[in-house]
């Protein structure tokens, strides 16, 4: 299958390993990956901070750049959630009817990585080997916006060598929330403290998730406290052999 990669601005810039792993994993499974170079950002940061008008050009760009592709994948439950739930809304407020239907159409062809693997490519065992004790944090947007359910866990359970340990209070937010972590840094830190306590309590040496943003937040805290626990994107674990 020919799959277009939406790398997301964050992975492209700060966490390229997550995007590279997505490419290498899909190629290993026998698919062709293309990277439309005109892509930038889904606009979620603008929308969620109160700048919908400014996000319009990014939403237009996403719809036109990815329109030619039947299947689009992003290694982020949060960006996919924004594409599915916010693009049409902003298009309706600031764009035109044509953009609304184009945005809806492209969004319906956009999948989060675990959705693509399980729902579209129908594979649970991706042939990965990752000999570590791992705990999985279901990010809020992957869980409650994109609704990936237990798909990431189903994929992780098939990874050879991987010791999957359950994260207590897994469904509680890590406190990232985009600009929330800046505007309400102290409350965000209080939420992160509890998330880190739960991660450390599992004895895992790796915390994984489907979003580089939440992992940047959790990883930033775990690193500051010198816990020795690493954060690794789900795509990197699934790509490992």
């Amino acid at each position: 299958m020919r799959i277009a990669l939406f790398a997301t601005c964050l992975a492209d810039t700060l966490f390229p390993e997550a995007a590279k792993a997505t490419v290498l994993l899909l190629e290993r499974l026998g698919h062709e990956v293309v990277f439309p170079a005109e892509q930038t950002c889904c606009g979620q940061m603008h929308v969620n901070t109160g700048y919908q008008k400014e996000a319009l050009s990014l939403i237009k760009r996403y719809a036109s750049v990815f329109d030619p592709y039947d299947v689009i994948v992003a290694p982020s439950g949060s960006c996919v959630g924004s594409i599915r739930h916010q693009h049409q809304m902003v298009a309706a407020s600031y764009g035109d009817a044509g953009l609304v239907s184009r945005a809806a159409d492209v969004a319906s062809r956009t999948y989060e990585l675990s959705e693509l693997l399980i729902d579209v490519l129908q594979v649970e065992d991706v042939g990965a080997y990752y000999p570590h004790r791992v705990t999985y944090h279901p990010t809020c947007h992957s869980l409650r916006m994109t609704r990936v359910g237990d798909k990431p866990l189903r994929l992780l359970r098939q990874v050879r060598g991987l010791d999957l340990v359950e994260l207590p209070a897994a469904e509680q937010c890590c406190g990232f929330g985009g600009t929330f972590a800046i505007k309400n840094a102290e409350t965000s830190t209080a939420m992160l403290a509890d998330k880190m306590t739960n991660i450390v309590s599992t004895g895992a040496d790796v915390c994984t998730a489907g979003d580089a943003s939440c992992l940047m937040h959790i990883g930033g805290g775990l690193s500051r406290l010198r816990t020795g626990v690493k954060t690794v994107h789900l795509a990197e674990i699934l790509a490992a052999t």
């Binding site: 930038t40 929308v47 700048y51």
Partner: protein, 475 residues
């Protein structure tokens, strides 16, 4: 939302409790450092979450009930004026008197005048969010009338000269030793040997309240529901103190937000299943009191209904924002909110705290007066999943953030970011320039404000040697 002539007014300043004195992050700063508060909140919200989750799981049709609740409320909002007129007509026909209050000042004046006319120096009160919202107690006190809260937790708050911090359990921030101290200090006729044993504390309140019930001729209540087709009002509660107020006095005055009306008696079937399970985690609330006007020889012989707007028509005018009026004040969103659990209710400044408060308060006052509240959320979405009438609170927060007046510096940065991201070549150059961020020092400790909040508790990621797109181009 655009403004036009004849736009309904928002809730007035200088009266009531919809505005805090500090922006949310500053108010939260204090709460986050209060270890007793943090412990109380964690314990209380975890307990209610567990209880509620259990009884909700018993209902196979919970999702359909939520859909039904949402649909009924959407219908109500689409024809609110005619339903209110129908309610007025039926309350009058049953012997009640209906008053229309455009805002808090008018509602306070109406209630104060009604109490004065009875000559009673005191009123007993049923727990009510609407009267907290308008600051009725302060207005009554100014007129020389003593309001006595009869809900145990509201009584604790009142005697402690405190503010409620939760919609359902307003004294959630207090523990039993604090409650004992408050009772010893402020409860008339309290036994000085009072202990902090919960049954002992409850018995002390009971003794005090029984005397008050039997000697007070006027009661003030809110209402959970009003039925337009019959003119019936309803209050649901746990303690029975509400029923004392609703049945014993000669005069009953009910202050109700206009959004509480339901079209038909049958609609109650949905809400009486949704509310207790989402709220207290009970299958059914212990006391449900319904009354229709005046019944000769039984219960209050004078009944007044005060229909309160106080910004609600302005909320209704926003076709997206009006969902907030669907709220049935169950407080499920507070109990699942990770922000509320850590900051408590007082940080929100308004009597409506938590996720629903973060959308309702700014709409009632106009967003400029509560500009920090729509940002008091990580948009985690737990509130939306918990809401028994499916209010999409995260989307409403995003909707309100889009209306907030933005700080100039932030606006410039966001515009520049959008400009760059709309131009792939410029964007790629900016990405490469990000490597310069290494000047922030090893692991990026100590970024300048407003980013300093991040580096105070978290390291920054190492800037990678190569962006993904550069790697792709080299392949």
């Amino acid at each position: 939302m655009s403004t036009f002539l004849g736009m309904p007014a928002t809730a007035p300043r200088g009266v009531g409790h919809l505005r805090g004195s500090l922006p949310f992050p500053e108010a939260a700063h204090e709460a986050l450092g209060n270890s007793q508060l943090r412990r109380n909140l964690r314990h209380a919200t975890t307990t209610i979450r567990g209880k509620s989750g259990k009884v909700i799981a018993e209902l196979p049709d919970w999702q359909q009930l939520r859909d039904a609740g949402s649909a009924i409320k959407a219908d109500v909002m689409s024809r609110l004026p005619s339903l209110l007129e129908q309610l007025e007509e039926n309350v009058r026909a049953a012997g009640g008197v209906v008053h229309w209050a455009a805002d808090a000042n008018e509602a306070n004046r109406i209630v104060t005048d009604l109490v004065r006319a009875t000559g009673s120096p005191r009123v007993i009160k049923v727990k009510s969010m609407a009267t907290q919202e308008i600051g009725l107690n302060e207005a009554l006190e100014e007129a020389g009338i003593t309001p006595v809260e009869t809900d145990l937790a509201e009584l604790i708050v009142q005697l402690g000269e405190d503010k409620p911090s939760h919609i359902l359990v307003p004294a959630i921030h207090r523990n039993r030793s604090e409650i004992r101290e408050i009772f010893l200090r402020a409860m008339p006729g309290v036994d000085p040997a009072l202990t902090d044993d919960p049954p002992v504390l409850a018995a002390a309140a009971r003794r005090y309240l029984r005397e008050t019930f039997l000697s007070t001729k006027v009661a003030v209540s809110g209402a959970n529901f009003a039925i337009a087709e019959t003119g019936t009002l309803g209050v649901v509660e746990s303690e029975g103190n509400g029923r004392m107020c609703l049945t014993l006095p000669d005069t009953l005055i009910t202050v109700m937000g206009i959004e509480k009306v339901l079209p038909t008696w049958r609609d109650l079937e949905v809400f009486l299943q949704l509310l207790p399970r989402a709220s207290t985690g009970e299958r059914m609330n212990p006391y449900t009191t319904m009354w229709t006007g005046v019944t000769p020889g039984d219960g209050p012989q004078n009944f007044h209904l005060v229909l309160l707007d106080n910004g609600r028509s302005a909320v209704l005018a926003d076709t997206v924002g009006r969902q907030a009026l669907h709220c049935i004040r169950c407080s499920a969103c507070l109990n699942v909110c990770p922000v509320y659990e850590r900051t408590g209710g007082h940080s929100y400044g308004s009597v409506y705290p938590g996720p629903i408060g973060a959308v309702l308060s700014p709409q009632l006052t106009g967003v400029a007066d509560n500009a920090s509240l729509p940002y008091a959320s990580s948009l985690c979405g737990a509130c939306f999943d918990a809401c028994p009438v499916k209010i999409d609170i995260p989307s409403l927060l995003v909707h309100l953030r889009n209306q907030v007046p933005h700080p100039a510096g932030e606006k410039a940065v966001m515009k520049a970011a959008a400009y760059t991201m709309a131009r792939p070549r410029l964007y790629a150059n900016a990405q490469r320039a990000a490597k310069l961020a290494r000047i922030a020092g090893r692991r990026g400790r100590g970024l300048p404000p407003p980013l300093s909040g991040w580096t105070a508790g978290r390291d920054l990621p190492e800037i990678p040697k190569q962006t993904f797109r550069d790697w792709w181009a080299e392949r």
